[in-house]
Symmetry: C3
Subunit: 299 residues, 3 copies
């Protein structure tokens, strides 16, 4: 590298560093106090090994050492998750009155409470696996569902993130479900409430909004939106019920949009593909779009 | 970590381990005998290097050593693929009468048969590259297609997985295409049959079901579903022709849904965007949705 | 491995190597002269650390060493980006009259020009962050937007790739945006022109074509296509304006398709969900699909 290159690079570095100076959102450089996305994704990967001990394993150990290995993984998750929770609690000023030591205790308690929810999360996931196998003629076995269905992955991450939401942890739940969104194309907000036996088939393009409530035995296909009617209100709408309520035994075929916080889809409803629904639907109903008029021309 | 922390962690570990006790699907812990998703994804990555020697290479070797390098990669693929095939054959009890040694021979034979299909797979992919370049005005060159088009990646993985399907290998083909689905948003079931010169543009949200049959020179855009009419039958529908048949020279624009096992789209048909098609379409036809009535309001 | 295995593997290797012989596109083996996708993705990751110094950091260093660390990352990006630009310039024969040394100088100049655009790119991204926070009631904070919104990631990569497009760099911009497409399901062609305060919510399935022009304060939801009317012309359409023009303060709800190079959506327009638009829309208009007729049957 000759001298002029050195000067040009120095100039570039200086101009970029200068650009970090003011207090725009993009400029945060308080590095040690930010949640760490990579650490959170690593926690997700390890939690998957706890949820599905035989599937997401490292295959390096034998069955007799399962207990030792699980202990190591669980301790590791507790350590890292607690650290990230501590960071976001401080960062979001959830408990401004607490000292750092007290905040760490708080983070520890939340982490323990979360870890104690794992058997219950696994109870729910067992029903989701059953629903996928029962609902999809292409499913060769439940193992195939666990090993290859993106819907089950998205639901697994959602069910964990949702528990952290209920424990009032900021930021981390959304980072978790957005990681699953990236892997699967399925975007479930961690704030949504979803019952047992939930089956997502194919799944790409699904959006389930923050205040959605979904009952049991619900089946959803690719491209379905359970969303808000309008977001013109922006931040003023925060906290309002903006997304629909879905009853039990509801099937929603691909491309359907169900919008609005007052829209209720009652039990045993079948929602046809590509429908656009902004009003409630009574129970035991099959709602479909009027047969689309097609035009045929000789090419 | 103080004593009460130690006790709480031990309690959590014990409760999670207790939860692994019963015989639910989620509890499989027979670690050594499960197919290994990570190993299968590694095989996919290496197979891509064999399919596209100049593109997915490690860039570490010179052209004169291509032969040696390819030999190493091919042997590696054979070793790991055989191992995974052996595991799934035993796991799915495909040949309960065979000893482990005989099962290993069987897995070896299947692996050899698959590897001998590679030149034919590459023949097909060369036509897919041609179709992408010819069909997309935004394609700068065939190299750009190979290096950056997600559709070609999804088709490449599908074409390999489909050959494993034809060789009656369980689970692995689906794990392969679901990996491609995660990378691209394009969900092609490995059981589908797809002819030469197949072009997927953009691709996110595409679903191509298990019993779909697609001819040659077919072009499909993002959000297209080639799917089933209903899955209310669940596992009872296994094996039935549930997905459509598409002829030669057919173009299907974005967001179209073509559903049902008896639906046949004949040669030279153009299917317009956002159509919902559950009946067959005769050859040389352009079928479009009737012009959507739009409403304009002053804001 | 016994002798017959050895022979079979040798046969397979030979048949695959023989298959590399002819001059099909798939057979390129000029390894050293191909752009390297892995290197380009690594450059993207490092550029994200420069764009968002506090978020995509390695968390290993303290604030006082920010300058040193940034210098290292910036030099690293310059070195690798220059190398890849040099490769694609030679590969695509952009300057056949230049010697390799002159081509390297050319690549260096382009790299410097690109790096000097970073403060301007960050100016734009700051407005995009603001737009996401203001536009989404579910956004907890701007940090959450930066750490978890896929739309912002896709826009960040697009804004960098677009600058490389303007500097006439072939192949690399598309490889960059296709990487973002894989991560987010959002497909923005690097040739598109997009103004400040751009907000993508959810995003999966969005396609924004090469010749699209988008104004300021535009908001786009999942599944929106800004595309061409037909690609029957294939390569003959290269360079033509095939994709729409969108004014300022436009909101486009999920699933809308706006198609055609002469289609202009003027300022302050709201485009309703699932609309299919192939004609221009005048300013201050809300355009929606006529209420879809739904059919209700007792199940």
């Amino acid at each position: 590298m000759d001298r002029s290159d050195k000067q040009r690079i120095e100039g570039i570095v200086q101009r970029i560093l200068d650009d970090f100076g003011d207090d725009r959102a993009i400029n945060k450089t308080d590095l040690c106090n930010e949640p760490d996305k990579t650490a959170i994704i690593d926690v997700i990967d390890k939690l998957m090994k706890i949820l599905y001990p035989g599937y997401y394993s490292d295959k390096l150990y034998k069955i007799y050492s399962l207990k030792n290995n699980m202990s190591v993984i669980i301790e590791d998750v507790i350590f890292h998750l607690k650290k990230q929770i501590m960071i976001v609690l401080r960062y979001c000023k959830k408990f401004p009155e607490l000292t750092d030591a007290e905040l760490e205790d708080k983070a520890m308690d939340i982490t323990y409470e979360f870890m104690d929810k794992i058997p219950q999360i696994r109870d729910y996931l067992e029903t989701d696996i059953q629903a996928a196998f029962d609902g999809d003629p292409a499913a060769g076995s439940k193992d195939e569902v666990i090993l290859s269905y993106p819907g089950l992955y998205a639901i697994s991450v959602y069910r964990m993130a949702h528990e952290l939401c209920l424990l009032d942890v900021p930021m981390i739940p959304r980072i978790m479900t957005e990681h699953a969104h990236s892997v699967t194309g399925i975007d479930i907000h961690p704030g949504a409430t979803i019952g047992k036996y939930f089956f997502i088939d194919h799944g790409t393009g699904i959006v389930i909004g923050e205040t959605t409530i979904i009952g049991e035995h619900v089946k959803i296909y690719q491209g379905v939106t359970l969303g808000g009617l309008s977001t013109q209100g922006g931040q003023k709408l925060k906290g309002a019920k903006r997304h629909p309520t879905i009853g039990d035994n509801v099937t929603i075929y691909s491309g359907a949009s169900i919008l609005g916080g007052e829209t209720i889809i009652e039990d045993n409803v079948v929602v046809g593909g590509n429908t656009f629904i902004t009003n409630s639907v009574e129970k035991d109903t099959r709602v479909t779009a009027k047969k689309q008029e097609l035009q045929y021309k000789n090419n």
